[in-house]
Amino acid sequence: MNIKRSLRNNGLLELGFVLMIAALYMVFLYVPTEKHTGIVQRIFYFHVPVAWVSFLAFFVTFIFSILYLSKREMKWDAIACASAEAGVIFTTLVLITGPIWGKPVWGIWWTWDARLTTSLVLWLIYVAYLLVRGFATEPARGARFSAVVGIVGFIDVPLVFLTVNLWRTQHPTTIIFEGGLTTPMLVTLLVCIAAFTVLYVLLTIQSANLKSLDTALKRLKSMHTG
């Protein structure tokens, strides 16, 4: 099994490690504390990147689900599934860090506003994606059903992104593109986004390789025993 070695050869492990150390340094030592909400605002530097990475992960699932349905090759399904799995992990982080940040700032853990509700729905859609695979009697059928969920479920991603602009929500609007951040804050955020993007790529490659290996092993086993 040369997965770790192949990641090392690509330099991804090293890059991810360096970026994560840089991100932690910048979040806790470099960036100034925000005036209005204080030290707890530092959750923002990980909350926003994990949200971005979860959108990216579901987009990758969407693309590779289309590829799987058109080509019917299990390698595309392995990437789609690995990315959905990572997406669920990162959306879970969004749904946990959001309320932890919300409680001291808004005074409540949760409210059923458009952004929070669509984010929860997004998480449920991709949990369903993973469950559909588990319940299917044969891998190809599970892959086909989940690919449909992966394509249809992606509709919720732009919806989650646009909710804060379409409706009045408790959740703040997108300040990143409107110049609402000072330069140190923006640089810190970008480094954190880069760190989490590399982490996502690493996890997805590792998981997709394991899934491909599992499929190949099952085929070999059936050939050997059959």
């Binding site: 099994m1 997965i3 204080g38 030290i39 707890v40 530092r42 959750i43 990980f46 909350h47 994990v50 990572a86 992990i89 879970t92 982080l93 946990i96 860090t97 932890i100 940040w101 409680k103 001291p104 982490l199 996890l203 590792q206 998981s207 394991l210 290996l213 599992d214 092993l217 070999l220 086993k221 050997h224």
Partner: protein, 50 residues
């Protein structure tokens, strides 16, 4: 240092879940390695018998 507990909780949760997922994948990797070894033994045995 008001609300430091919330900040600590958020970062702890993030790392706990990320490491949990890495451990889950490592367990899968070990399971696959065991299956490969079993299959290899089975193939070797069949070849020796044949």
């Amino acid at each position: 240092m008001e609300n430091l507990g919330y900040l600590f909780a958020a970062y702890t949760v993030i790392w706990a879940i990320v490491f949990g997922y890495i451990l889950f994948m490592q367990r899968n990797q070990r399971r696959l390695q065991r299956q490969i070894n079993l299959l290899q033994e089975s193939i070797d045995k069949t070849e020796n018998d044949g």
